[in-house]
Each structure stands twice: as C-alpha cells, then as structure tokens.
C-alpha cells in the first residue's frame, strides 16, 4: 500500500471523541498519561508525527499497526527512552499526571522510575542471579536493608506470576530460565521499581503461544495496580488484553478508541482494512 493511498487530510484529530469518557453509559476513566502533539525524529526522518492521545489509569492501552509505523518509537517516547538512541529527538508534550516529562529540569532517570519498560526480547542481565535481576532496579534508590529487598523481590516475582517457579532457584542466573520465564523476570524487575505506568514493547514477539498466554494472563492481573501500554503486532492479542486501542500507520495515529469499538466499528477505512487483514 502506497503512502498516498492512505494519505490522511491534514487535520488536528479530536481523539477523545471515541473515548468512553464521552459516552454516558460508561464511567469516565481517569487520564494518567496525556500525549500532546508528539513528534519523534531519528536524525532528520520523522518517525512519529503529531500524535495526541490520552492513556487511562489502570487500563491497558494497545498500540497496533504494521511494522515501521512508529508504534515502538512512540512508546519509547513515553519514558524518554527514545532519546537514548544517538541522533534521536522528541518534540511535543507527554504529561504524566499533568506534569510534562519533557519539561525543563526533568531528569529522564526519574521519569524512567515512574514509567517502566519491558522490551521485545527478554533481556535479563546474564551476570546476575534471578534474585539480583529483580533487585537491580530497586536497589538503585531503594533501601539497602536485606529484608526489605528480599520482600520486594518476592512480592515482584509473585506479581509477575513467576515466584512459584523460581522460589527455590533464586541464586541461579537469570538466563537459565526459559524465554517466557525470562520475560516474566523482566516484568518482575520492572515492577520492583513501583512504576505508575508499565510500557511493553511487543513483549510476546519472541515467545511461544503458551508463554504468550501466560504473559497475557499476567497483564490482566497487573492492570489492577498499574497502567499498561502495550505495543503489539498481533491484533488478536490487542483485542484480548486491551481496554483501549490506538492504530498507528506511517507514523501517524489513525484511530484511537475503546478496543471493542475499534475492532467492531472502526471509523476509518485504514483501520478496518488493517484489522481485517487487508494489509499490514
């Protein structure tokens, strides 16, 4: 599909139009992250163009779209991870509980403690044990007290539904686990820092179906305590796990709304074409 084929007229999208907050039969959800006119660049090339949307507290928001549509770049902007790549920069605002993450004097290190991230491929630290992997982030600014750390490790592993499988092997290297377990270890590691928002960048793309099912189940349980944004190229996954869905195409946000609406009555042709498998 050519770019022209899906060229969208220059417009300022009123994305809140689709939100249940504007629909009387549902209770309005609180906004945790508000993204305003976000543009992300790699050098001179624009990867995310003028995206505005709201991510609701303790809900799962899925970002879908074909490869190269800027969905990964987009969530890397939400914890200031995009700028780690040489030559990358960001314009626009990301408001976490009203405060701009890109405001002057905001330390990206502090941002990343509040907005955690799980990566595409499980990346446990190979030189650390399972225990140390989970404790790695917590120890950075948490307590040095052994008992507090132990409690935190246990709690995080339980939250990540990994405790029962590893409780007797905590001293073993994190890389001795299976791929799915490694990814849950990485989730536990992120949760140990007590983030308000958890970003997941295609967390299941390197996993088999059974491990994927476990992660999805975990996402369901986690949304009681943390706001989740998940990038996925798997539309069934988006439909299964998310409350809201954003469809990205060619760096632009095409459509955003309640997952049920997006998958049953999409407003835009492109969205419909993508979710019905006509391209992507």
């Amino acid at each position: 599909m050519s770019k022209e084929g899906y060229a969208v007229e220059g417009r300022q999208r009123d994305i809140d139009f689709h939100l249940p907050g504007n629909q009387p039969e549902m209770t309005p959800d609180e906004t945790r992250l508000r993204v305003e006119e976000l543009r992300a660049y790699y050098g001179k090339s624009l990867a995310v163009n003028n995206v505005t949307l709201s991510i609701k507290t303790k809900k799962v928001t899925a970002i879908i779209g074909p490869s190269g549509c800027g969905k990964s770049t987009f969530i890397r902007c939400l914890n200031r991870m995009h700028e780690v790549t040489p030559g990358a920069r960001v314009e626009g605002k990301v408001l976490l509980d009203g405060g701009d993450l890109y405001g002057s004097g905001i330390d990206p290190v502090e941002v990343r403690r509040r907005v955690g991230m799980v990566f595409q491929k499980p990346n446990p630290f190979p030189t650390m044990s399972i225990y140390d992997n989970v404790a790695a982030g917590f120890k950075l600014n948490g307590s040095r007290d052994r008992r507090i750390i132990e409690d935190k490790v246990e709690k995080s592993l339980k939250m990540a539904a990994l405790w029962e499988e590893v409780r007797s092997d905590l001293h073993k290297p994190g890389t001795s686990l299976s791929g799915g377990q490694q990814q849950r270890l990485c989730i536990a590691r992120a949760l140990a820092v007590d983030p308000e928002v958890l970003l997941m960048d295609e967390p299941c793309s390197a996993l088999d179906p059974i491990a994927t099912a476990k992660i999805e189940e975990l996402i369901h349980e986690l949304k009681d305590s943390v706001t989740i944004v998940i990038v996925t190229h798997n539309m069934q996954q988006a439909a299964r796990v998310s409350d809201y869905t954003a469809f990205f195409y060619l760096g632009e946000l095409v459509e955003f709304g309640a997952t049920g609406d997006i998958f049953t009555t999409p407003e835009k042709r492109q969205t419909e074409d993508y979710i019905t498998g006509r391209f992507g």
């Binding site: 780690v84 955690g116 990346n123 950075l140 590691r189 820092v193």
Partner: protein, 335 residues
C-alpha cells in the same frame, strides 16, 4: 585415521552447502579437489604451529640442560648471579619482572578501561576514530622508542618524584630506596604501563562495543543513570573479554625487553623498595647473551628463558581458569 575425515569434513560439507546455495545433505561427502587441497594445506599449517611450539620447548630444555643439572630448582630461589664465581640464581630477576608487570597493570588498567568506556559509551560515532586512532598508533610504536623517551624524558621526572616521595614518605618501606638513580622498579613499571595501555584500551573498546544495546537500555529503563548502567551491566557483561584484554597486556609487560632494559636499572640484587634498580628476565637475557663466554653461563641464560616461558604459560592458564570460572553458569544469553 580411517574414521577421522568423516568427522572433520562434516562442517566443511555444511559450509559448502551454504556457499554454493545448492541443497546438498550436510553429511554427503561432496568435496572436490580444490577443497581437499585447502583442507590438507590448512591442516598442515595448523600442525606446523603446534610443531614449532613443541620444538621451542624442547630446545629450551636442551639449551638449559647443563644449568638445570647444575642448579636444579635452586636456580629459581637463588639470589646470586655471579658469572665470575659460576654461581647463578635468578630470584631477584623473577621478582623484578613480576613486580614491574603488576605495578604496570595497576597503572594501566584504570586508564585503559576508562578510555575504552569513554570511547564506547560517551563518544559520538563520528568522533570515535579521532580518539581511538592515536591509541592504536601508540600500540604500534617500537619499544626502543619508548625506551629512549623513557630514559631522556620520563626518568628525570621520576627522579624528582622519587626524591620528593622519599623526603616526605621515606618512613614507608616501599619509598625508602635509592631515589636519585631515577631508573628502577618505578620507572620500569611506568614505561611498561605506557606501553600496554594502548593494547588494553584498544581491545577493551572492541569488547565494550559488543555489549548489546538492549542490556544497557534494560538497566536505563529501571531508572539507572548511564554510569550505573555501564558499571552494573555493561562491564559485568563484558568482564570475560576485559579480563582477556588485561591478560594480553600482562603478557606483553612480562615479556617486554628493550624499554625496561633502558629504564629498569638492571641490577641483580633483590628489590626492597620501588626505587631499587632491577633486571627483568627478558632484558637480562638480551643484555648478557653476548657476554656469556662459557657454556654454563649460556645455559643459565637459556634457563632464565625457560622460566620466563613457564611464567607466561602459568599466567595464561590461570587466566583461562579465571575466565572459565567467570563464565560458568552463563547459559544461552539472549540478546
């Protein structure tokens, strides 16, 4: 020998399959004349190297046999090196060599790893060659030039430093030595440090550049500063490679001849302080070989060579052991 080619040729067969793009079963012995030729040639060359090493060891033993028979292992602990009295013991030189090499490591490792960290993680890509090229250039300078520079430029500075250290901290045993010579353990160590820094730095840089971005980003995403991510994730990830780089530096420091001959002081007495002049094993062999007038003398010098060879082998074995211990439990790293 009958079953051997099958085992060895199997990977070759696989390689051929991939290279030619044809679907050939890997186990099929489709090897043409050219491949057979190169296989035989490279195998022959590989055995050549092994053969050379064996020959070298045998010849070292043969050459030093007279001294071995005469002094035995006492050679290693004897402190007298007196060609006139036909008494040879090489403990002072062994100690001098090892002490100088380790002090050199102590000085060189922080500088080289530090610069490698800077180049790998803090320098923009376009600037990297600007900084690393001079380092590589430094690694290629002949050691005699380091020796000359050391003698005429560095030693006077070291002399001033030593006199000051002795005057102010002379109560500390290591600083209580003949400070005014300039040449000695400290000068030797310093020149060795300068010589091995570029090697360790260049290898460490290559090693650190192989640390996957996802590892560092994984730590950054937990709210670590860049420094914390480097210190707690990148360096441990690269530790085996970094250790290898350090061992290579140590190897060069122990075997280095020319520069330490010029600034080391070349005394046969056991050292008691950092300022004492002392020979290194390699420089001892080089500087005395021409004067060795009788066979026991020559044999003793070759014995020193044998011991030096033994020390490098022991260090390399210890390094292997350490690497093995460090890498134990590192199963299937997902990147």
């Amino acid at each position: 020998m009958q079953g051997e080619p099958q085992v060895i040729n199997r990977p070759l067969g696989r390689l051929l399959t991939r290279a030619s793009g044809k679907l050939v079963h890997p186990d099929a012995q489709v090897i043409n004349l050219g491949d057979r030729f190169f296989y035989t040639l490279t195998r022959g060359l590989a055995f050549c190297v092994i053969f050379l090493v064996i020959l070298l060891v045998l010849d070292l033993f043969r050459g030093s046999w007279e001294a071995i028979r005469q002094f035995g292992l006492k050679f290693l602990v004897g402190t007298t090196w007196d060609p006139v009295a036909r008494q040879f013991g090489t403990l002072p030189t062994i100690v001098g060599t090892i002490v100088k090499a380790f002090i050199a490591l102590l000085l060189a490792v922080p500088i080289s790893i530090g610069s490698a960290i800077f180049i790998s993680f803090y320098t923009p890509k376009w600037l990297r060659p600007v900084i690393s090229y001079p380092i590589e250039l430094l690694a290629g300078i002949p050691s005699i030039i380091f020796g000359l520079w050391g003698l005429f430029v560095m030693v006077p500075v070291i002399r001033v430093l030593q006199v000051w250290l002795k005057a102010n901290f002379g109560w500390f045993p290591l600083f209580n030595g003949p400070a005014v010579y300039g040449v000695g353990v400290l000068a030797g160590s310093a020149i060795l440090a300068i010589m091995i820094t570029p090697i360790i730095a260049a290898i460490s840089r290559d090693i650190l550049l192989t640390v996957p971005r996802t590892q560092i980003e994984g730590m950054l995403a937990l709210g670590a500063t860049k420094w914390e991510a480097i210190w707690k994730v990148a360096l441990p990830y690269a530790r085996t490679g970094l250790l290898g780089a350090v061992i290579l530096g140590l190897g060069r420091a122990i075997g280095e001849t020319m520069a330490v001959t010029m600034v080391g002081g070349n005394s046969f007495d056991l050292i008691h302080s950092l300022f004492d002049p002392v020979h290194s094993m390699a420089s001892q062999i080089a500087s005395e070989f021409a004067e060795a007038t009788y066979s026991l003398y020559v044999s003793s010098l070759i014995y020193v060579g044998l011991v030096l060879f033994g020390i490098t082998i022991i260090i390399s074995l210890l390094a292997q052991l350490l690497l093995w211990r460090l890498s134990k439990g590192r199963i299937a790293i997902l990147e």
